[in-house]
């Protein structure tokens, strides 16, 4: 595979974005391209471990780091961009840990050596970047404004960052260069949405949790947390909630019919990805932004508002 050109960047899709959450994947690529960056998928990726391997020592770090090795070896890129907050967390956690801990680095390299896929050792000199802060820092709000052809006037959006985009800053260095978002009160999504012409609402659950690692095995907890988030956003007047993570979507969008069944209509609100709204404002059709993929039916409100 050829090394990257100047306007290209190495991109890690992850399992969710390649399958169920293709809308997030495709819209991320569309808007990045409009903003002047082509996302190039690394070949032969493997799952980041989705946090389920954390208690397995260096094995949990091998999972994301193998992808960093591919990015460097095949695409010549030290850094890797991703749109899934859980992937972003797993990559940041692993990179930070091996940077700070020689034993863990040696243990990971021992696995690399045994697997024998690469000729060199892993050196933690690259970074994981979340697509939101990456576009914000590399291209900026002005670039977003420049590309808007269909402002989202009159659309009230509740930005939902969830947990792992901004937390914990000991791994993601959210408040440090080159990222510079706020780890307790992130604001990049707010700024992007406002640049699109939409209005953001304050509802207090911006960095809440959706049930996280227990979404599958502890629906009771997840449903209660999600119902609170959705109903607060609704009460604050939001037309939609905007997300930046496919796992948040699993909890808030895919599970929404069950949450409504349990908690009633207050927990019913369309869910979209930030990048879908960006694509729409950048002039792509609703079909291209694949709004119909979402279970919570955002198309209805978008049609009503005349977008």
């Amino acid at each position: 595979m050829d090394k990257l050109k100047e306007n290209q960047a190495a991109y890690y899709p992850g399992c969710a974005l390649l399958t169920i959450d293709r809308a997030y994947n495709n819209s991320s690529k569309l808007v990045s391209k409009k903003m002047g960056i082509e996302l190039v998928e690394i070949p032969d990726y493997n799952c980041c471990g989705i946090g389920e391997m954390k208690s397995k020592g260096a094995a949990s770090m091998y999972m994301p780091l193998r992808n960093m090795m591919i990015a460097k070896n095949k695409l010549g890129s030290k850094n890797l961009i991703m749109a899934c907050s859980v992937c972003y967390h797993e990559f940041s956690r692993s990179i930070t840990r091996v940077k700070e801990n020689q034993n863990e680095l040696s243990a990971v390299n021992a696995i690399f050596k045994e697997a024998g896929e690469f000729n060199e050792e892993y050196i933690p000199d690259g970074e994981a970047r979340h697509i939101l802060e990456f576009l914000y820092n590399e291209k900026g709000v002005e670039e977003v404004k420049k590309n808007v052809v269909k402002p989202l006037k009159g659309l009230k959006v509740a930005p939902y960052y969830g947990c792992l985009y901004s937390r914990p800053s000991m791994y993601t260095f959210t408040d440090k260069k080159p990222k510079m978002d706020n780890s307790e009160r992130p604001r990049f999504m707010h700024e992007f949405l406002e640049a699109l012409g939409a209005e953001t609402v304050f509802y207090g659950n911006e960095v809440q949790c959706c049930g996280g690692r227990n979404v599958v095995q502890d629906e009771e907890t997840s449903f209660a947390l999600c119902s609170q988030t959705i109903s607060k956003a609704k009460k604050a007047g939001a037309d939609v909630i905007a997300l930046i993570c496919p796992k948040c979507a699993g909890a808030l969008d895919v599970n929404q019919p069950k949450i409504v069944e349990k908690f009633g209509k207050d927990s019913k609100l369309p869910i979209v990805y930030l990048t879908q709204l960006m694509a729409l404002a950048f002039g792509f059709s609703k079909k291209e932004a694949e709004f119909s993929d979402m279970i919570s039916e955002p198309l209805k409100v978008l049609n009503e508002k005349g977008f």
Partner: protein
């Protein structure tokens, strides 16, 4: 929004919530007999009934198990256990504590520091509920990383309470197993399979064929996403990675390697 049922019988080893000392926030951490509280008490003409005269008898804990502490310290997730100074910021930040009052990360870390297995055992039924939101780790002033201390706690429980894991934590363990088989075995995650097998394991087979599930499946069949899941496949040469990972796990001689025989 508390989800925990205040049904004394169902507290699974927890102490019944007695009337006395009810206003103490972490009431469940204190033995009944250690709380002195007079329902009606007047001292020098001043009415100090009920909570105005609550007194907690200090307890003495003399059987520390330091070997246990070292065992946790050796793991990646528990490596910072020595740093915790018990300020309680983690519990105050926790997503789960308001839903399940007996879930108290600070207290769990304390019990692990002391090697107090007897006390830990009482919380097996809630200890697994951490959602990994990292609010605690974000705010911990000592960089203990309490979110990951909860993973260390899970390892401890897995090693020392195998019987309880089999009965009380069966579902959590089984879902973890599904994840691990896919992640290590295939190198990629089949979300559809994960979802259906987890539902089967949790006994929701009926729901799986219910209206909501059917609707979602039909939708994904129609728009083609169901097939993309099937096409996901494995990374090339994953078998060499798989073997290396399995060998590494096999050689780990810390509690990270303990298997619960589910």
């Amino acid at each position: 929004m508390a989800l925990e049922k205040h049904d004394n019988k169902n507290l699974g080893g927890g102490r019944p919530v007695a009337e006395k000392g009810e206003h103490i926030v972490a009431r469940h951490l204190i033995e009944d007999d250690n709380i002195k509280e007079e329902k009606n008490l007047v001292i020098d003409g001043v009415d100090v009934s009920g909570r105005w005269n609550t007194f907690i008898i200090s307890r003495v804990n003399s059987d520390f198990d330091r070997s246990f502490f070292e065992e946790i310290k050796k793991t990646v997730v528990g490596s910072r256990i020595n740093r915790c100074w018990q300020c309680g910021m983690c519990t105050a930040s926790c997503t789960v504590t308001p839903l399940y009052r007996r879930f108290n990360p600070r207290a769990f870390i304390y019990m692990m520091q002391l090697g107090n297995l007897k006390e830990l055992k009482k919380y097996i039924d809630v200890a697994w509920r951490c959602v990994g939101c990292y609010k605690c780790s974000q705010r911990c002033p000592k960089q203990v990383n309490p979110a990951e201390m909860m993973e260390a706690l899970a390892l401890v429980i897995k090693k020392y309470f195998q019987e309880e894991v089999k009965t009380k934590l069966k579902l959590d363990e089984e879902v973890k197993k599904i994840y691990e088989d896919m992640i290590i075995g295939h190198g990629r995650l089949d979300l559809a399979k994960l979802h259906t097998s987890a539902m089967q394991k949790s006994g929701k087979t009926k729901e799986l064929f219910g209206k909501i599930e059917r609707g979602a499946i039909l939708k994904m069949l129609k728009d083609g996403r169901a097939f993309s899941v099937l096409r996901l496949g494995k990374p090339h040469n994953w078998s060499s990675s798989k073997e290396a990972i399995e060998n590494y796990l096999h050689k780990l001689n810390t509690i990270e390697n303990s298997e619960a025989g589910v």
